[in-house]
C-alpha cells in the first residue's frame, strides 16, 4: 500500500467523505483538507503521490494553489486531478492552463475518480522511470 497517498482538497464535507470512502477501499491513504489557504503547506509537508483539488474553495482558489505548485520545482511534476462544480469549457481550459494533470466535472461517477487518479499516478511514475 506504500506509495499510494492522496491529499483531497475539498470543502464540501459530504463529497469529501464519499471520495475518501471510495479511495480508501481501493487501497489509497487519503488525507483531507477543507481550507484552500492550508492546502499548499500541507502538500509541501506531506508530499502525497497525488492531489485532488476542488476549483472553488474558501480561502484560496484551486487555480491559485495549482499555480503555486507548478512554480515550485519540487512539486511541479505532482499529478493533480482538478474537480469543478461548473463543468464549463472555460473552467476546464483554465485548469489545463494552470497545469492540471486531469479534470473532472461534478457530478461524477465514483469509478471515474478512481480510474483517473490511478491513471495520472501511473503515468507520472512511468515518466519518472523513463
Amino acid at each position: 500500500m506504500s506509495g499510494k497517498h492522496v491529499l483531497l482538497v475539498e470543502d464540501e464535507p459530504h463529497i469529501a467523505e464519499a471520495i475518501r470512502f471510495i479511495l480508501t477501499r481501493a487501497g489509497w491513504k487519503v488525507s483531507l483538507e477543507a481550507d484552500g489557504a492550508q492546502a499548499y503547506a500541507r502538500i509541501g509537508s506531506e508530499r502525497p503521490d497525488a492531489v485532488i483539488l476542488d476549483l472553488m474553495l474558501p480561502g484560496s482558489s484551486g487555480l491559485d494553489i495549482l499555480t503555486s505548485l507548478r512554480g515550485d520545482a519540487t512539486l511541479a511534476e505532482l499529478p493533480v486531478l482538478m474537480l469543478s462544480a461548473r463543468g464549463q469549457v472555460r473552467d476546464r481550459d483554465a485548469a489545463t492552463r494552470a497545469g492540471a494533470t486531469a479534470f473532472l466535472a461534478k457530478p461524477f461517477a465514483n469509478g471515474d475518480v478512481l480510474a483517473m487518479l490511478d491513471e495520472i499516478v501511473t503515468r507520472a511514475k512511468e515518466q519518472r522511470s523513463a
Partner: protein, 440 residues
C-alpha cells in the same frame, strides 16, 4: 445633395390639396407636364434648384416637400439590411437594392412599413435573448444556486452509488451515508425552492420588449415631455404622477421615472415657468445667460429648456445626456436628429467632445446626415459630481441641447451622423464600422 423620391409624392399631395393642375405647375417652373408626372411618381429625382422653384410656385417651404415622417421607416429598412448582412444572408440572396430604397418606400409604403415593423420586432426579441443570456451568465444568485445544486447532486450521486455498489458496507458507514443522503436531499429541495421563488419574482416586464429607459421615453413622449403638475406650488408626490401609467411596465422604469420627476421638480423650483419663459424671450436660448440670470446650475437650464411646454409654431428642443461611459441616460430626439435605437452614437457628436473636456462649454453647429442633411445648433457641457462624498468616485455627466440652427452657414460646422451603421458619410474620420449605405 440628392433629392429623394418621396419628395415626388409630397409634391403631388401638396399640389392636389392646393387644386393646382399638373400642367399649370409644370409650366410655371419651366418643365414638361410629363416630366413633372415622372417626378410626382417618384420615378425621377428632383434637384435642389427645381425643388426650390416648385416649392415657390406652391408657396410652401422646400423643406416641407423634402421632409417626411418616413425617416424611421428608412432607418428600420436599413437596419433590416444590416441585420441580413450580419447573418450573411444578404450575400446568398443577393444584396437588396439600397440605392432604390426610396422608390421602394414610395411605391410600396405598406410593404415597407411591414418590413420595418418586423425588423423592430426582431430587434426587440434579440434584446430579450441577450438579457436572458446575460442573466444566465452573470446573475450571482443563479450562479451560486447552480453551484449548490451541483454540489448536492455530486454528493448524492457518490453516496447513493456507494450504498448500492458496496455489498459488505459496515453498518456504521451505512448509517452515516444514509444521513448524508437525508441532509443533501434537504439541501437540494431548499435550493430548488429558493430558485423557484427567485424566478417567480422576476417580473415579466423586466425582461420585456423595451428597456427601462425606452419605457420612460415613451411615457415622457406621451406627456409631450412636460409634467405640468410639477409647476404647482405644492406638487403631488412623484409616485402619484406615475400611478397606473401603462408605459412604465417594469419596476426599473418606474424607478427611473421617479428619479426624473424628482430632478424635474428641483429644476422647476430653481427656474419658475413664467419667469423662465420671460427670460428666454428676452435673452434667447443661451443656457449660460439663463443660468446666470437665475443663479441656477447649467444642467438645470439644459433640462428645463428641453422640457418646456411647446409654444404654438415653435420647434421642439432636443436633449441627450450621457454618463462617463458615453451611455445615453436621457434621450429626447427632434425630427431630423436621429438618435440611435441601439448601441453607441456617432463619436463626432459635440456631446462626446464635451465629455472629453469637462467644464468646457462646446457650442457647435452640426450637419446631421440623413436622407436630407439637416443642421442644428448644439450646446454641450460636461460636469463632474461626487454624490458619494469627497472621497467617493467623481462621476461625469455630459449633456447636449439640440436647437434650431442659425440661418446662415458658417465655417466650422461639423458633419455628424446618428450611428456608423446607418450613416452615409463614407469618408468619415470617426467611422468605427462600415456603413451599409453606399452613398458617399
Amino acid at each position: 445633395m440628392a433629392r429623394s423620391a418621396l419628395t415626388g409624392t409630397r409634391i403631388r399631395e401638396r399640389r392636389t390639396a392646393l387644386r393646382i393642375k399638373q400642367a399649370d405647375l409644370a409650366r410655371s417652373v419651366g418643365i414638361s407636364p410629363a416630366y413633372l408626372n415622372l417626378i410626382e411618381h417618384n420615378r425621377r429625382r428632383v434637384g435642389d434648384e427645381l425643388l426650390g422653384q416648385i416649392a415657390g410656385a406652391m408657396a410652401v417651404d422646400p423643406v416641407a416637400l423634402s421632409e417626411g415622417a418616413e425617416g424611421a421607416l428608412f432607418d428600420g429598412l436599413r437596419e433590416a439590411v444590416a441585420g441580413a448582412e450580419a447573418e450573411g444572408g444578404a450575400h446568398m440572396a443577393g444584396m437588396p437594392e439600397l440605392e432604390r430604397i426610396e422608390e421602394f418606400v414610395g411605391r410600396f409604403p405598406g410593404w415597407a412599413a411591414i418590413l420595418a415593423g418586423r425588423q423592430a420586432r426582431v430587434n426587440a426579441l434579440e434584446r430579450v435573448v441577450e438579457s436572458y443570456s446575460e442573466r444566465m451568465a452573470q446573475d450571482p444568485f443563479l450562479l451560486a444556486s447552480l453551484h449548490e445544486v451541483l454540489s448536492a447532486v455530486t454528493s448524492l450521486r457518490s453516496t447513493a452509488a456507494i450504498l448500492v455498489e458496496t455489498d459488505d458496507i459496515e453498518p456504521i458507514w451505512r448509517a452515516r451515508f444514509l444521513r448524508t443522503i437525508q441532509e443533501e436531499s434537504l439541501r437540494l429541495s431548499e435550493t430548488a425552492e429558493a430558485l423557484v421563488g427567485y424566478l417567480d419574482d422576476l417580473e415579466e416586464a423586466e425582461t420585456g420588449l423595451s428597456s427601462p429607459l425606452e419605457q420612460v421615453e415613451a411615457w415622457l413622449s406621451a406627456r409631450n415631455w412636460h409634467l405640468e403638475e410639477l409647476e404647482e406650488a405644492t406638487p403631488p408626490p412623484p409616485e402619484a404622477l406615475i400611478a397606473g401609467v401603462a408605459e412604465l411596465a417594469s419596476s426599473a422604469a418606474r424607478k427611473l421615472a421617479i428619479a426624473h420627476i424628482e430632478r424635474a421638480q428641483a429644476d422647476a423650483r430653481a427656474l419658475p415657468l413664467e419667469a423662465f419663459r420671460d427670460a428666454v424671450a428676452e435673452l434667447g436660448m443661451d443656457p449660460a445667460l439663463l443660468a446666470t440670470r437665475f443663479g441656477a446650475p447649467l444642467g438645470a437650464v439644459f433640462r428645463r429648456l428641453a422640457t418646456l411646454p411647446l409654444a404654438e409654431g415653435a420647434q421642439p428642443v432636443g436633449l441627450v445626456i450621457c454618463d462617463g461611459s458615453g451611455a445615453l441616460t436621457f434621450r429626447r430626439g427632434v425630427p431630423g436628429f436621429a438618435l440611435p435605437r441601439f448601441g453607441a452614437a456617432c463619436p463626432l457628436w459635440p456631446l462626446y467632445e464635451a465629455l472629453a473636456r469637462p467644464m468646457q462649454p462646446v457650442r457647435k453647429v452640426v450637419d446631421m446626415a440623413g436622407r436630407l442633411p439637416e443642421r442644428f445648433l448644439t450646446y454641450a457641457i460636461c460636469q463632474p459630481s461626487q454624490p458619494g462624498g469627497f472621497d467617493g468616485p467623481v462621476l461625469m455627466e455630459a449633456m447636449m441641447l439640440i436647437l434650431p440652427p442659425p440661418p446662415e452657414r458658417a465655417p466650422g460646422e461639423r458633419a455628424i451622423g446618428s450611428s456608423c451603421r446607418i450613416c452615409p458619410r463614407g469618408e468619415c474620420a470617426g467611422r468605427r464600422e462600415p456603413s451599409i449605405l453606399s452613398e458617399a
